[in-house]
Symmetry: C2
Subunit: 324 residues, 2 copies
């Protein structure tokens, strides 16, 4: 097992190579023999053979009588022609910036977090967040729609989307509720991606933006719903409470905050995807994958009257829903 785990990094690299070479698209187009696939992806037969076999062993392809085909998952998510294509995720999850956060993980563990650095991902206008907005959007489409289905209603509402990124959370509210107006907050460069997505969704006339740091900009007030997707995990509790007090002030009296997050159970070892996220966050200066009790305490300290943890199956993330 130690051997397999010490080589697990090759699984990430091989999948990324398959995506980069458009191997899955090539097979979806009807290329099943090694020679046909190799020709289509413009690679050597030997390299194609090794990659296809490796991706078969790791569960992304099927091999029978020397012919390769796609698993149902690969057909849906890794064929570039599929509407649910998610191959772009590799651009963010395995970017030099994100993977580079693990370069001195031993030092980070000793210290309890990364030392703040001038090219850290929390610095103003860091380019990684444009990559995030572009790459991770396909993964967020379904959960964003699910949340809007539950919470958007049909009355006129004002929605603030903090750390909007691709903007899909807010945009889903605009799509679901024709009387909703959305304000996205993020770095100016990131908001260009959100605005393009809003235009594509046909809701640009109800989508406006506030560029800058969520900690510094003036949110305005009178919001019915404030979304804080995947943002609090970057900061320590005191910093989050400061932000949440500002969020509290920007809500109408009946307003709610919806916070999609990686939320491990109190044992911190389940569910694995949420709990493992703490390793990624350790490589920020003070972030964490917070348990519900930790998040609940932050919201309570910031003045929120009540909080609730909601599941979002089958999506791995969960929501905290907080009442002003």
């Amino acid at each position: 097992m130690v051997f397999d785990t010490l080589q697990a990094y090759q699984r990430s690299i091989a999948l990324r190579a398959g995506i980069d070479l458009d191997l899955f698209t090539a097979i979806a187009e009807g290329n099943h023999s090694l020679s046909a696939i190799a020709k289509r992806i413009k690679a050597s037969e030997k390299g194609t053979r090794v990659l296809c076999d490796y991706l078969t062993m790791t569960g992304f392809l099927l091999k029978q009588s020397g012919q390769y085909s796609l698993t149902p998952d690969s057909a849906a998510f890794r064929n570039r022609q599929s509407p649910a294509y998610m191959g772009t995720m590799a651009n963010f999850l395995m970017s030099p910036t994100i993977a580079g956060m693990f370069e001195d993980i031993t030092g980070v563990i000793r210290h309890g977090g990364a030392l703040p650095s001038e090219d850290g991902v929390l610095e103003p206008d860091h380019a990684i967040w444009v990559e995030f907005a572009r790459s991770m959007a396909p993964l967020m489409q379904v959960p964003a729609r699910e949340i809007a289905t539950v919470f958007a209603g049909s009355k006129p509402i004002r929605v603030l989307d903090i750390s909007a990124g691709h903007g899909l959370y807010g945009i889903s509210f605009a799509k679901q509720n024709p009387n909703a107006t959305i304000v996205g907050v993020d770095w100016a460069s990131v908001l260009e991606v959100a605005k393009a997505n809003a235009a594509n969704a046909g809701v640009a006339d109800r989508y406006s933006t506030i560029p800058g740091s969520a900690f510094d900009v003036d949110f305005g007030s009178g919001y019915d719903i404030i979304l804080i997707p995947n943002f609090l995990h970057h900061f320590d509790a005191a910093t989050n409470e400061k932000l949440l007090r500002k969020v509290h002030a920007a809500l109408v009296p009946s307003g709610i905050v919806i916070t999609p997050e990686f939320i491990p159970n109190e044992d911190r070892i389940s569910p694995p995807r949420d709990a493992m996220f703490s390793m990624q966050m350790l490589s920020t200066p003070a972030g964490d994958a917070y348990t519900y009790s930790e998040l609940e305490s932050m919201f309570r300290n910031a003045g929120f009257a009540s909080n609730e943890l909601r599941e979002l199956p089958p999506f791995p993330q969960r929501l905290v829903v907080s009442q002003k």
Copy 2:
């Protein structure tokens, strides 16, 4: 699954961090609470918590009521005080040289192998092979002993160990058979490790060496057994056949060659550990994880009369045994 696979590299990095910080040794010494473990490994409690939880989720630790303990495997192999300690493996398997071979894996797949480079692992006296000899020895002890038990006999024999590395394969023959004399071939710097291991095993008086490239040096002749452990996978078939003709000439008429290797089945997708090794070898200019039929053909072309594939359970590798 794509999400998990794109982050699988973190599994490798986290295990390496646990080994580097001697976390497993700390727990073996009786430290089970977060504060005691953190103090012992001189790390922050937060970093220790994240690492311990991550290693629990990936199967290397147990967690109960907030206390951590070792799995039986971790107690045997990852506690530095255990005689079967294998933590050093990380130094080789995750060395910048080995992991660095994947930096341009997409280019390597296109090309069908790495372009020869001046700092490639096949260059004379490359330092990685000293690291290999030092780091991988613990993993090889059991299979080396098993092979010697089967093949060493008790008659006077001369054994040639090609690409001796740590020397354990040849040394096991010397330990098993007091009438065996061993000659190890490898780079001079690597043979220093083998000689030290021979001295530790009390067989230095029957262990001699030939420093240099196996392709260039004079083996001498009259060997009863020639070992070629994990060497052929670095080269193409023609290069291997050239070496095997030289090996054939160095054997006595009744001599045999024993070749421990990663040998995938003909389907090239099983067993996974052998078959996955082809990805590692793709990052050499012309190496591969060869199937038995490919190896059999190389030996036959080099003049060997017969070959046999032997399993070596529970060790993942297999043997080709070839009769002159």
